[in-house]
Subunit: 415 residues, 2 copies
Amino acid sequence: MRTSIEPASIAMLDQHDPLRSKRDAFLLPEGVIYLDGNSLGPVPKAALRELKIAAEQEWGEDLIRSWNKAGWFDLPGTLGDRIARLIGAAPGETVITDTASINIYKALHAGLNLRPDRSAVVAEGSGFPTDIYMIEGVASVRPDMRIRLEGVDGPRIEDLIDDDVAVVLVNHVDYRTGMLRDMAALTGRIHEAGAIAIWDLCHSAGVLKVDLNANGADFAVGCTYKYLNGGPGAPAFVFAATRHHGKLSQPLTGWWGHASPFAFDRSFRPGHGIRPMLCGTQPILSMRALAGALEVWEDVELDQVREKSLRLTDLFIALVEEGCGSFGVTVAVPHERTARGSQVSLRHPHGYEIMQALIDKGVIGDFRSPDFMRFGFAPLYLSYTDVYVAASILYDILADGTWRASRFANRATVT
Amino acid sequence: MRTSIEPASIAMLDQHDPLRSKRDAFLLPEGVIYLDGNSLGPVPKAALRELKIAAEQEWGEDLIRSWNKAGWFDLPGTLGDRIARLIGAAPGETVITDTASINIYKALHAGLNLRPDRSAVVAEGSGFPTDIYMIEGVASVRPDMRIRLEGVDGPRIEDLIDDDVAVVLVNHVDYRTGMLRDMAALTGRIHEAGAIAIWDLCHSAGVLKVDLNANGADFAVGCTYKYLNGGPGAPAFVFAATRHHGKLSQPLTGWWGHASPFAFDRSFRPGHGIRPMLCGTQPILSMRALAGALEVWEDVELDQVREKSLRLTDLFIALVEEGCGSFGVTVAVPHERTARGSQVSLRHPHGYEIMQALIDKGVIGDFRSPDFMRFGFAPLYLSYTDVYVAASILYDILADGTWRASRFANRATVT
């Protein structure tokens, strides 16, 4: 690849990277440049350690006593509070529980219940599909509810918000393009109309300085297995702003959300604070791996994460545009730093085959229909050299047409 | 303890126990007789092995590729089919997913949607509390729905069933008393009235020869972390009879239940068969530990499990009644074998203190309000000698009043 960017300058960037030592906190397979942390983060060493303790000591030796002794019962809140700093929440506003889909269902109901005189829910037609499916699920039990989708009912989400809108559910970073929404401006617009803002942070938690409270967000949901590296399918988080506590109601009223979960009452009474967002018994082994993964974040400055993320994506965009533009590859993510998450999506009519060829050569990204190659840049374990090597391999594949020979793997992958 | 039961006869029972070698499949802590497998089963060695492979190899080395390569994406169905034999289901009728509470919510909606012209849901007022809470949650989004509870609206569940009843949700084994319902008779009564039967198998799966299809059950839910030993909070199962497939609808419509989960469609279309009971991304590490736990069951004959379970509980009841009856302890579980699960509940005004004294001496059971001491008898890892020793320790505690000095531990425990 011929570019104006000197390998020596890349090495300098790595040398002066304040996050470079964080790479040692992860187990990364040999010979792989992992650009799919936006789908499944790699293994933090502390996650393996905690998983082993949880399985062998807590489950194996202490058995049922670990619900108290090892703090299992408190995990949704204690882990939620550890994520709080990363998303700009106050203590007691976030819990780890269930899946992002189910937390969206809860937050939608809770938001609608806060605006009983309104009927519309607004979301993105190009949003992550499960967000829309869960909205449809809520609509199936709230026959008066109306759904308005950006790209279907109007070009811009802002234009769909009027005084019949109860809730707006919006992705902070678009899963396909990597586009970043302006949380402050959009939340302001939502509140101006008297509606409730639910932010889906699946593709921003852990790579941006998310600031839910400073921006006035009402609810938020997110994954912990992407940039937070909590492990495959690790339980999700849900945030509800303190000002709504005491008024939170949603229909998944299980024992863990009860005011007195061990009183075995015959009727549900919601617990205090964020507790009504909890429902049933959580997968403790997965939770404990996540507890280890969150240790890695304890001394991380999110400003440094965001700055490195932008430099990594700046670099990749520059290398691709200079080196690969002539092969029909276009950059789908905005060039403006304020409109970009930590993912660069490239488009090419044969994006699927090119991604397969990349994976065969150890550069792991993924593909999303119809023609998006997605590359996630996680600042804690990636170097600038990784980015340079990945772009060079992409160039080689495009230049010699290797991708035409790449075998079709199973397309099934999980975002 | 003086009883008519000879220690030599106990040793003989162990010698001739066809399941005795299964104990080696478990890691059991030294000095503990674990009679709380009805709350959290102990560690199967295979679960630790699979958990390690899942964390280090599948997550650590293969990363995102494990969704296909390691079969993560198929786990809800493949593990569901392995549980199918234990509960009398056919292949394709059971999935492992989410929590028992959330699966109850799905099954209730699905059942109600199959009987749109009816409005009542019947359940047990003394049923496991989260079952009732989830019914209340469903009612909160179905304003026409009426709840009728056994013990509140009538003495017997059978008398509450009429032609306005859409769904009956009932526990196979009562979590407090250990009482076993007659699944065939009650399902027959429910169907006679044209209603849908949902069985909660939390306290029967893995200790009884549950026979859902032979008894005509419509839906079932259950835990995997009690007698199935899947690990703390391991994902739950949900069963839907094949005759309802194609007509399953419930409002938790997440991506995993979609007909084409990787097509990223803008609207939800339910998948085939049992798939509409799935919703969001599952906790894979917890699922993989469960996969190991289920290996233990592969060559187990459930008739032998049931027979041993009855002998264990018969023995415990006999020892307690002969040895401890004079101390005010009463047996809460029925003596008739057909009305008993695998748990013996004893009542005593100071049951809580007595249980603490037992735990201090290494006999782990648990306590449920107001005065129930619960002892679960899991045939795969308990011996008749364990039962004899446990009863003897109970006798000693009662006889010398040790329980009066037992410290009050935190009452919080999870069923």
